[in-house]
Amino acid sequence: MTDILARFAAFARRSGLARMRPERSTGRVMAVSVAFLGVFALIDARLLQLGLRKEPPPTFKSSIEDTLAKPRPDILDREGRVLATDVMSWSIFAEPKRLVDKDEAVDQLATALPGVDSAALRRKFDGKKGFVWVARKVTEKERAEVFHLGLPGIGFVREPKRVYPNGPIGAHVIGAVNTDNVGIAGLEEYIDRQGLATLRDSGIKIRQADLKPLVTSLDLRATQALRDELEWGMRTFSPKAAGGAIVDVNTGEVLAMASLPDFDPNVPADALKKDNIDRIAVGTYEMGSTFKAMTLAMGLESGKFTLRSMVDARHSLRYGRFTIHDFEAQHRMLSYPEVFTFSSNIGAAHIALAAGVDAHQAFLRKMGQLTRLRTELPESASPIVPKHWSDLNTITIAFGQGINVTPLQALMAVCSIVNGGRIMPPTFLKVADPATRTGTRVISEATSEDMRYLMRMNAVKGSARKANIPGYFVGGKTGTADKIVHGHYDHSKVFTTFMAAVPVDKPKYLFFVMYDQPQALKKDGGFHTSAYNSGRVAGRLIRRVLPLLGEPPLDAAPADPFPRIAASGYPLDPLALALTK
């Protein structure tokens, strides 16, 4: 060891390693001077570069703003009225380390921004994060108030805020977005799924002006009227929930849809509350007599029945330990239209049994009742279909018990029954060219005409009279289903639906109204069946909405509304042909 050191010392002496060499220092001082000059030149060059730059560099603030700038396309109704749009708002952030007095800052901020929880804010300020949000998406006025507090460490960035000027009108269709402007329900979520999210994540800067607005099938005024009338029904019949829709039967466009209770999409958290679900698209119900329309259409389509057929409704129908009764029992042979107008369970069951279980199942499958209906809305639900389908299932399903479907699904089937036999999934986007919406044929034109006649008969003679609004050629069908309470059907708790097609000779619109557990009114003699609530509301709707959709009341009944039936020599009821005044 000492040897190595000694040799190193000797080397050091020889090579002058340990010696200061002042004679070298002149050059070295000059070298340092030149190095300094180089660095100063570099700084000057950089200064010039910055001074000549036009665009401001990406700053901390602007980079947050870029991250936050998640513009979304406007959502419009079919007439171009705004349903959802972006407005610029302010978001307030804090850099806790720069706050001079945290207590004071919390106090002042909580006073200026009433929505801010001071205890939570204090916790955020005490945390380790260098950047925390104080409030997101506040108004210009609130920003100005906080700005004038002059707190160091508090900053502001611009951020687009989604605004729904119509509040809850059309809320279930429009949906909502979360704080980060990402769709969480309805068409808002659809927009993200259609590639907006991908586009945004790709890092491409999107400007709101570049995004094409989404034109929906909704008509804002019809939607507002629908919601308003449903609310009238909520007040009048005190049900648990209500729903309604107006559909263009020829294109499947949903012109109006509402489900109560609903939410204001400006308060997005409410969109996810369980009670506020969209009962039209997501709720599944036993649709009751609405299914009878399908059963009767199937009977006519099978060729086994015609309008002249008589159906046995003399006795209750026994099957094993079950007995099927009629609500308005006639105890006689019923004509085919009478099965519909008296809403005979026994008649419907006989018609379905005549077709057989397999044909019944095949028909319902064709009508889209056994599979999950998917639309543009992310929300959907599977129907509840019996696993083993026996004669008994066919009997009950014939009059709408023992199968749960979404109202939207049932609506789709009824549309196809009245529109000439073409089925198509409902759409929430405006159809540019109706010719493209041909759908799939499920029943013949003739069957559809027969069914329209049945609905017209029901509106003038049967349970749909309350919706037979003077001046309109209305056809309708009521549906009242007892609700299952503890495994048994409870007559006191009902689920009522109403469907009306207008004008029923050449239908354009289908009106649908439903109430869950409506209460009977005294003046109605204690009845809580569909006609008294859903039917009544549907009538009010027809009267109010059709003029909005450009359909004034008619002066005279349409000539030859049911040409095929008339040609066959069938004795059409004159009441059904006349325009109700």
């Binding site: 200061m20 002042p22 220092s25 300094f36 700084i43 001074g51 401001p56 901390f60 850099e95 950047f131």
Partner: protein
Amino acid sequence: MISRTDRSLASEWWWTVDRWLVGAVLLLMVTGLVVSLAASPPVAARLHLSTFHFVHRQALYLVPAAIALIATSTLDMRQTRRAALGLYVVSLLLIVLALKFGVEVKGSRRWIFGVQPSEFLKPAFVVLVAWAFSEGGKGRDRPGAWIAFALLPVTIVPLLMQPDFGQTMLLSIVWAALFFMAGLHWLWVAGIGGVGGVGVMAAYKLSPHVHERISQFLGGGAATANGGAASFQVDTALASFVSGGLFGRGPGEGIVKRSLPDSHTDFAFAVVGEEFGVVACMAIAAVFAFVVVRGLFLASRDDDPFARFAAAGLLTLFGLQSVINMAVDVHLMPAKGMTLPFISYGGSSLISLAIEMGFLIAVTRRRPRASLSSVGEAPFAAAPAE
């Protein structure tokens, strides 16, 4: 005009100092006052002080600063060394006291009796190291080189304990530059360079703070929302240069400066950029460059090794500090808290800089060649060759 024949102290001073250096330093002091007019009102407003609070303070500090500058610049070589030794001992003592009794500000103990002793330690340290190297150059029997070696740890260990990595780094670099300029073997230079490199690497690996700063710098400047507020100042500083353009928005017209928390200290240069334009910034940089180059030129010609080393060391200190501050402001290097000499606000800093420049002017004063006024300070030619 002072007569050359006047042998009074003032006359002696006037005819021997490098008047270019004195002029440049005075120009910087006045510039600092003008800049504080622009850069400090937003900070004063944030702290609920009167608009020109920091301007008044800066002007007030200029008086003792000027006195300190003139006073130190009149010292001769021996007096300079003694003053430096005294200043060094006192400030080191204060630093140690501050470690024990000082007030903790932003996580470190740097202040005692209202001053930051480390500011005064810097020029004293440089003069002492220069002294040690010059002694070491005189012969093998002198312990100068070893004292120079020992001075570094003695000085930086208390600084590291504060902790103050910025000053530690600055003093280490100046010490290494002096080593280089003193003419040591290249092997040493390479070795010290290697140790410095390892030190920087270790800091990057071990200190999360250093790691973050460097990563942020390499990340290209644009911070992400979660990237942290540290680059906020740098980004804002860049924005103010761009906002100012070539000729600036005009005095008092700055907008970006309002969101620059350290606008009156570390980022004063950026405020100059916004209000007076990058041309003004380049002019200020030119004054700094002039002081450094002129001073080093004078130093390289000086025959007295102590005077040469002291001047070179003081200028390296001064130049490095200004270059680091400007480079950070224009985002040429990672964010490092460093004030711009004379331009940034700060009382301790101003007075210590005055002393620093006073020492510089003192050691660069013209002396009669081969002056024998102080015994033992023979020029190199007279150094005993063994």
